[in-house]
């Protein structure tokens, strides 16, 4: 640790003082997001999460450059390659005669490393798309419920209660069963079951914000209801939703992998980690690498978003930090 022992409390006071000085020396005060960004960078968990997520986004964006092969290319005809070949890295003493596949080959003779790399694209899209969907619908419903109250509030929130009454994964399975298996329906189902979380938090924020003085001031100035809701209330209610959204990406990726594992999610030949793992689970004893690596990829991705979410929570709401 550092040479001068500093207690967490002193550290916090110091941070606060520094921010104050900063505000005094500069004309413009630090905005919420800029301040949050600085606090995020000061926390180890937040930084680790940020780095993991950043690397994953780069991997997803440049997958064709990083992956040595096409994820669907069949190597069974290649000399020296057999089905479910274990990892072979020449630098680590693998026979130079054998073709190099750093994570080995899968049951169809495809390069596992390339598939895992391309899987990043699938999983990140699943995370972002489902959360965007749930975020937009959920927070719109929550904002309407909180702002208008009365009948819209009651009818929306009772529906949310019904959704929350079922175990999330099982309800999502029921939705996919009704719509048919596949990646798109999986994303839809996961989005639907996560809507209530956003609706509830948005509603609670809106309820407390709409009573604040600046909203009253806006109303006194003659702003319309929609304008007040859209430009005065909603922007200030977004903070907790950003945290839930980040953690929600982690949950969505994990759930989508579970769907892939159960055979309801992504279908062949899509390189999705959960279904890759499920296809080879019966070969666990003879080819453990085919189960191990996709699982590690899921874990690192989920961990990254979880850490980032935790970091953001601490950064956006210092009162919650422990």
């Amino acid at each position: 640790m550092s040479t001068s022992p500093v207690s967490p409390l002193e550290q916090q006071t110091e941070d606060a003082l520094r921010e104050q000085q900063h505000e005094q020396t500069h004309d413009r005060p630090i905005g919420l997001w800029r301040g949050a960004w600085r606090r995020l960078l000061r926390r180890k968990t937040g930084v680790v999460g940020l780095v993991i997520v950043g690397v994953l986004i780069i991997v997803a964006a440049f997958a064709p450059l990083i992956a040595p092969h096409d994820p669907t290319q069949d190597f069974l005809s290649e000399e020296g390659s057999t089905r479910r070949d274990p990892p072979c890295v020449h630098v680590f003493g693998c026979d130079p005669e054998k073709p190099q596949h750093i994570l080995g080959l899968d049951g169809n003779g495809r390069d596992l490393f390339s598939r895992v790399v391309y899987g990043t694209r699938v999983s990140l899209s699943i995370g972002f798309i489902t959360v965007t969907l749930a975020f937009v619908i959920g927070s719109a419903l929550g904002a309407i419920a909180g702002f208008w109250g009365g009948l819209p509030d009651n009818s929306i929130m009772r529906v949310m209660d019904v959704i929350l009454g079922f175990p999330a994964l099982l309800l999502a399975i029921a939705i996919v069963a009704a719509l048919g298996p596949g990646l798109r329906n999986t994303m839809l189902a996961i989005a639907v079951v996560s809507i209530p979380a956003y609706a509830r938090v948005m509603r609670a924020s809106v309820l407390s914000i709409k009573e604040l003085e600046y909203v009253a001031a806006s109303r006194a100035l003659g702003a319309g209801r929609l304008r007040i809701l859209w430009s005065r209330v909603v922007p200030n209610a977004l903070t907790p939703l950003v945290v839930i959204g980040t953690l929600g990406i982690a949950t969505a990726i994990l759930d989508a992998a579970a769907f892939g594992f159960l055979g309801l999610g992504a279908q062949e030949p899509t390189a999705e980690w959960g279904s890759m793992l499920a296809r080879e689970r019966n070969q666990l004893f003879s080819a453990p690498h085919l189960v191990f690596f996709p699982g590690i990829a899921i874990m690192i991705t989920v961990l990254g978003f979880n850490l980032l979410g935790d970091g953001l929570r601490d950064a956006l709401d210092p009162s919650l930090a422990d």
Partner: protein
């Protein structure tokens, strides 16, 4: 207290009724013709008509609902469409395994998660604290099915310490306690279902009958799935215990206790812990849904014929009676668990009065 519990259970009846109606409606909303799914795609119109008449599907929906509720009130959940067997019999066969599995997982999660949280809070920012929090972060990020497969690979395939799947080794048979005691129970009666339900908890049954061989075998088979299922709740419980205890340790009454000269152990055990455990109890109650979802995956990985796999199969095969039966049972379990959570609040914090 008994009065309170009785009233809560009474209030649960309308809730369960509502859930019954909602599941009934939802099951009818799922697209697909039950006739085609049972008699096959080539069923003639006449055969389908007879089938619908026979199963009461031609009655108006409210009448069907009324009949269904009457039957459920009498303990009859109808017959499974796929297996043509009473749903209540299937419930009795499948639920005990899941109860044993999730209870073991929950106990493991509490026995390890709570002490880990306490140690982290007491030694805030120490290596133990950082290690525990790292474990907790990784724990909530791990796919249950992957962890299960890795446990099988290490402890069953490589080390050979534990069996990779199943509930009992082939050849080991759990003799129901009522048979061991020479009771004669009429099959397909309510009594039969009750004794079957009890004896299908293999661990419990083997303790009753004293078959320690079966007990040991059952425990061996239960360890890996229970560990896999317990990881996420364990991580969540450890985090919750830690942050809640950290919060309580900063309170005035804890400072007072320290100022009196009480030892740190005593301060934590007597003054802080009880208050810190309240949010943990809430979390444990909320984990039940997650445990059931996790059971679907864990049972699939370990080849266990429990409620999770049954429900998954029933949903994908559109076996309405089974889905409805399970949903009602799960909802009833929620009611009971919430009641237990509320009662334990009152036990942990005497300021909370149940009325």
């Amino acid at each position: 207290m008994p009065q309170y519990i009785a009233r809560r259970l009474l209030f649960a009846i309308p809730v369960l009724f509502g859930i019954l109606v909602v599941t009934f409606m939802l099951a009818r909303l799922i697209p697909g013709d039950p006739c085609k799914s049972i008699l096959g795609e080539k069923a003639t119109a006449a055969a389908c008509e007879a089938f619908a008449e026979n199963k009461g599907l031609n009655d108006p929906i409210p009448v069907q609902l009324g009949i269904y509720i009457r039957d459920v009130a009498g303990g009859d959940f109808g017959d499974s469409i796929r297996f043509s067997r009473p749903v209540s019999q299937i419930l009795v066969e499948r639920i005990p395994l899941t109860i044993e599995l999730s209870l073991t997982a929950l106990v493991l999660a509490l026995l390890i998660g709570v002490p880990l949280g306490i140690i982290s809070a007491m030694r805030h920012n120490s290596a133990a604290d950082v290690g525990t929090m790292m474990f907790a972060n990784i724990g909530v990020s791990m796919p249950v099915f992957w962890l299960g497969l890795m446990l099988i690979y290490v402890f069953a395939a490589q080390l050979g310490w534990l069996p990779p799947s199943g509930r009992l080794t082939a050849g080991v048979v759990s003799i129901p306690f009522y048979e061991a005691w020479g009771w004669t129970v009429q099959p397909d009666t309510f009594q039969f279902r009750v004794v079957e339900f009890i004896s299908n908890h293999y661990l419990l049954n083997s303790v009753i009958t004293g078959e320690w061989e079966v007990f040991r075998d059952g425990v061996k088979h239960l360890i890996l799935p229970a560990v896999a299922l317990s990881t996420i709740p364990m991580a969540i419980i450890a985090r919750m215990t830690r942050s809640s205890l950290l919060d309580v340790l900063g309170r005035d009454y804890v400072r007072t206790a320290r100022a009196k000269g009480a030892r740190e152990r005593r301060v934590v055990a007597k003054h802080a812990l009880r208050n810190a455990l309240l949010p943990v109890v809430t979390i444990v109650g909320l984990q039940m849904g997650a445990l059931l979802s996790g059971a679907v995956l864990t049972e699939t990985v370990f080849g266990l014929a429990g409620m999770g796999t049954m429900l998954f199969e029933a949903i994908t095969a559109r076996d309405f009676p089974i889905i409805q039966g399970f949903t009602v049972i799960v909802a009833a379990a929620y009611v009971v668990i919430n009641l237990i959570v509320d009662v334990s609040y009152a036990y942990l914090d005497p300021r909370i009065r149940l009325e």
